[in-house]
């Protein structure tokens, strides 16, 4: 088996030894990342905080016995956070609430000159309305910037199945946000990212 090169290896080892500077550095590196994953998966800031805190607690417990070279710590932490998100999504399905968890899309604003915050809100709302697996694929590949192989492994699907989920998700987002696209008013798309 090929040893995995893990950029977090030394940091995790030091966390396991109780080095407070390493714990601080790991929190700065991972907490916003895991919080973003949970918030985009759940569409709820309070629940996302709970998931992120619980995932980091598991990271602290794991650090002293972490075996370097077997897996990337970041991938393992994503696995933990995703499982916590799945639990909460499953609970939502079992106990339906009156209030929908996803933020409603209020439709296009009357003014073309939308504020960036408004555009962001529309994007988040469209993302929240995607089917879970499509949303998960887009969150892992686009926002968390995992490779297709890492994302497919986390989702326990083939790379081809991942590509299919990504394509369907992006098509749905394009349709939902069509009025926001620069091309919809005749302008050319920018240089992208």
């Amino acid at each position: 088996m090929v040893a995995v090169v893990d950029p977090d290896e030394d940091l995790v080892r030091r966390v396991g030894l109780g080095d407070p500077a390493a714990s601080q550095a790991l929190v700065e590196r991972k907490l916003p990342r895991i919080l973003a994953l949970a918030q985009r998966m759940l569409g709820d800031a309070a629940e996302a905080e709970d998931v992120a805190q619980e995932a980091m607690l598991k990271a602290w417990r794991q650090a002293p016995t972490w075996q370097a070279g077997k897996a990337k710590f970041d991938t393992w932490l994503h696995r933990v956070a995703l499982n916590l998100c799945y639990d909460r999504l499953r609970r939502r399905r079992e106990i339906p609430t009156d209030a929908p968890p996803d933020r409603p899309d209020e439709g296009p604003a009357p003014d073309r000159g939308l504020l960036a915050a408004e555009t962001g809100r529309r994007v988040d709302a469209a993302l929240a309305r995607l089917p879970e697996r499509q949303r998960e694929a887009i969150v892992l590949c686009h926002y968390q910037e995992l490779t297709n192989i890492e994302a497919a492994a986390l989702m326990e699907i083939s790379v081809e199945a991942l590509e299919s989920l990504l394509s369907r998700g992006r098509r749905a987002l394009r349709a939902a946000l069509a009025d926001l696209s620069p091309r919809s008013d005749g302008r050319r798309a920018g240089d992208g990212r």
């Binding site: 109780g18 985009r40 805190q53 980091m56 607690l57 994007v123 590509e163 992006r170 946000l177 992208g192």
Partner: protein
């Protein structure tokens, strides 16, 4: 790579080739350089990428960060230099005490044996009976 494969990849991964499967990037780059239709596909994908990037950046609050840090593993208190000296002194005293106990037990058993022998001899004189009388 044909343009239909490029469309599939752009639809899945967007316009940023660094997100694409590594083994398909070189062919994609050559196709994009040569074919305006391929560039148009990438421009469409880039427009959606830009919209996705408008999603607000998520920042951890100071309170959450503090809660997480409070639960981080703590280094176990290690003995300082003085601590080590006291530990060695303590161990020395303990060893001396053990030696004292061993010596005491040995001495006691020796004294006890002597006293027991004296007691037997004393009892023998009290009885006033000679062994030869008893044994014949």
């Amino acid at each position: 790579m044909k343009i239909d494969r490029l469309e599939v990849l752009a639809e899945a991964y967007g316009a940023d080739l660094s997100r694409w499967p590594a083994h398909e990037r070189a062919f994609a780059e050559s196709l994009i350089a040569a074919d305006p239709a391929a560039r148009a596909v990438l421009e469409d994908a880039a427009a959606l990428d830009a919209l996705l990037d408008a999603s607000p950046r998520i920042v951890a609050s100071a309170a959450l960060t503090a809660r997480v840090l409070a639960s981080a593993p703590k280094r176990k208190a290690s003995r300082g230099h003085l601590g080590r000296v006291f530990w060695i002194l303590g161990a020395g005293w303990a060893a001396a005490a053990c030696a004292g106990v061993v010596a005491g037990v040995g001495l006691t058993s020796h004294v006890t044996a002597n006293e027991r022998a004296d007691a037997i001899l004393y009892q023998a004189t009290l009885s006033g009976v000679d062994d030869t009388e008893v044994l014949g």
